[in-house]
């Protein structure tokens, strides 16, 4: 393996490639180390679909206009203020310049989509999704002369006096070290590290499904925090949604998502309901259900509904489990049969008449049961009855490295590291301290990847 280079990029997702390409175009020699083999390269970016961009007027891929202040307001509302406004505004404003840069490096976008939950105004959709984007970026990086090593995990970075001297990596499990002039870490969060999650979640973590890459082990993050890098974000927090329990343990991506909850009742394995399934419109409640299911016994729950609701939500990759009676469905799902029958009977009896409308907060609700179902409550009485098993699905973690506006990693004493930069999920917590808004992770990765790559090249080239 190569022993030295100007800029070493650790991690080959959206942020890593944005950094590598930018540094290479600035004249630096660049080596990129990707933990995954080529087939799984790209980190969680390979599972993404779009990014959020501010723009003053409609473009070929974006409808309407989305101002910097609208963007900021959306960010503020999901983070409840857990954001660094200075960094957030840098990211937001820089997204205005992203489209031409991305397109110049092979990115392709879908024409503005119609009827996509309002996202056509705010988010540009990658043609073919995130893996297609990663393919384009890797091709661009290789064309420019970035040297990419797959199957290469970075074990440790030697950080002394705010300076990276040496990086130890493990190409294909062997061991090797590099002495780069500057380093950009873009190696994501630690959501795939079950042992680490267990520190905060206990044994429940063993039953979590990790929606993205299994390579997000957080090794680089942990290594740098241990050497005095300042952290940002609540280490105990992660973005968790309810996913189909039949999903693969890792890398299930988008297709394990289940949008059926507002049109179902959700019970635990003893057949009891535990939360208002119709509390608010789905995009606003999507991300609370991971946590709710994580609190259930054995971290499993079941969404139960009937034939008349089946076409109201996006299909899962796994067909629903069907039965002609609630009792049969309980048996098939492994729920206490008598309890589920009682729950459904009780639920059906307490529904108040209303006008069902899946598009708005309608007036179909229950009366006199706890917890209530406050919207979209309809009797579950039309066979075949359908059920989906649910597990907590972890998307990403919030803990990260604190950075300054040049993407430079800050030390615990507040001073910036001399030649260490961070971009992407590993520093997204600076801007997104809580919650989520579609496409912001990719936006932060792209903007700070470019900043980090440019600054690292400056440091390396003196």
């Amino acid at each position: 393996m190569i022993e030295s280079c100007d800029v070493l990029v650790v991690g080959g997702g959206n942020a890593g490639l944005s950094a590598a390409i930018t540094a290479r175009e600035a004249g630096a020699s660049v080596v990129l180390l990707e933990h995954a083999p080529k087939a799984f390269r790209g980190g969680n970016s390979r599972h993404t679909r779009n990014l959020r961009l501010m723009h003053k007027s409609p473009t070929a891929t974006l409808a309407g206009g989305y101002s910097s202040s609208d963007y900021w307001r959306d960010l503020l509302s999901v983070t409840h203020g857990k954001t660094d406004e200075h960094l957030a505004r840098i990211a937001i404003d820089a997204t205005a310049e992203l489209l031409p840069w991305m397109e110049a490096h092979g990115a392709r976008f879908q024409p503005a989509l119609k009827g996509t939950l309002g996202l056509s105004r705010t988010n540009a959709f990658f043609f073919g999704g995130g893996k297609a984007l990663m393919n384009a970026y890797y091709a661009a990086a290789e064309r420019l002369g970035v040297t990419v090593f797959y199957d290469t995990e970075v074990r440790s970075l030697c950080l002394a006096n705010g300076m990276i001297r040496e990086v130890s990596a493990a190409p294909n499990g062997a061991s090797s070290s590099l002495r780069p002039k500057a380093v950009v870490v873009c190696s994501g969060g630690f959501q795939a590290n079950i042992e680490w999650l267990r520190e905060y979640w206990g044994d429940a973590a063993s039953n979590f499904i990790i929606r993205g890459t299994p390579y997000a082990q957080g090794g680089v993050l942990k290594n740098l925090l241990a050497q005095g890098a300042a952290s940002v974000g609540d280490p105990t927090q992660c973005h968790a949604v309810a996913v189909d329990a039949r999903a693969p343990k890792f890398d299930g991506g988008i297709v394990s998502r289940l949008d059926c909850i507002p049109f179902s009742i959700v019970v635990d394995r003893s057949g009891r309901r535990f939360y208002d399934e119709g509390e608010d419109i789905w995009p606003k409640r999507y991300a609370i259900w991971g946590r709710l299911v994580a609190q259930c016994p054995e971290q499993i729950a079941y969404a139960i509904t009937d034939a008349k609701s089946e076409t109201l939500f996006m299909p899962s990759a796994f067909p629903p489990i069907r039965a002609q009676s609630i009792g049969d469905l309980a048996c098939k799902l492994g729920i206490d049969e008598a309890a589920l029958k009682a729950t459904v009977r009780n639920f059906n009896q307490t529904i108040r008449p209303g006008k069902f409308d899946p598009g708005v907060l309608d007036d179909c609700h229950t009366d006199g049961i706890a917890p209530p179902k406050t919207h979209w409550a309809r009797a579950i009485d039309e066979p075949p009855f359908i059920g989906y098993p649910l597990r907590p699905g972890i998307t990403f973690t919030y803990l990260g490295l604190k950075v300054d506006e040049n993407a430079r990693v800050l030390m615990q004493d507040g001073r910036p590291a001399a030649n260490l930069f961070a971009a992407g999920e590993i520093m997204a917590g600076n801007i997104l301290g809580q919650g989520y808004v579609a496409g912001i992770g990719m936006a932060i990765g792209a903007v700070f990847g470019r900043i980090a790559g440019g600054e690292a090249a400056k440091v390396a080239l003196g």
Partner: protein, 375 residues
Amino acid sequence: MEHGNSRTAEQARRFVEICNACRYCEGYCAVFPAIELRRQFTSGDLSYLANLCHDCRGCYYSCQYAPPHEFALNLPKAFADLRLETYERYAWPRPLAALFRRSGLAASVLAFLFTVIFVWLAKTPLSAAVNPERAGAFYAVIPEGLMIAITAAAFLFAILALAVGLLNFWRDTQSPCAADSSSFLSAFSDSFTLRNLGGGGDGCNNRDESFSQSRRYFHHALFYGFLLCFASTSTAATYEHVFGWLSPYPFFSLPVSMGALGGAAMLVGIAGLVQIKLTADPVPASRLLLDIDYSFLVLLFIAAGTGLLLLAMRTTGAMGALLAVHLGVVVSLFLMLPYCKFVHGIYRAAALLRYAAERPRRARGAAPATEGIVQ
């Protein structure tokens, strides 16, 4: 038609269910919007989708679930395997469906057989000098009536068998009884431009993640070359039977120049397509269908090649023998049309027509978009 639950169909169904939950590929081609209209997939639906697929492989390389992911999603291969099953399922008469997997051998035997028949029918010894400049020189070798009767019978049989196959496809996919003229227009334009072949506009993925338009161009050369040859034959027939102008025609006549140009375009197209197939990534390809592709391409290559050779040597003593061989190959090609890769064009065009006819349903049912793994 109880073939819908074959392992091939089951695998395609599983893949399509995953695609329907993902939808990242919806911009690529007609297949994905067609998937999004459905939640459950009958064997007829799968047959329709498989034949709608142009095998550009864009979805394979952009797929987050492609092998070695445990879903091992490989839509191009699953659809190609399924297409072969549908070709056999819809073939008429049914027992001849067995020819698909032996189309190379079958075409060779037929070509040999008909060449022998034409030699046997020859009025004069083939080496005997016939004045090739004389009008009707070809008929001086092989009697006109017999030549026309044999080729026309083979051609009409092919048309009949293809029509029954098309009807079987249309029925099995439960396609609508009627389609409006704009649907026909749209299917026609999609077929002739190969709009869905690498529908993103960057072309196909042949070897890897990189895109190329070469397959489109070579397919156009082959397809339009084939049409030119067909036009050449039709024009010649019109000359003879309407105007009474007997062949051979001079080189710069319409039939000969179209035939020469068409034949040359076919050779170029075939060579290009074979080269692409030989160097392609084997993972998204169907091994079974690939053999059938090669057989068809070789058959077309020989048909076009012998035609061009006949043209080049028609003034020599080899004309008689070449005429017999070319006719033998052409009759074999006609007879094999319903049992070789040629049928892909018929079912593809029909699937595109059905897709066009579904347009109002697509406009109504704007499905909610997925937003990536976080929203």
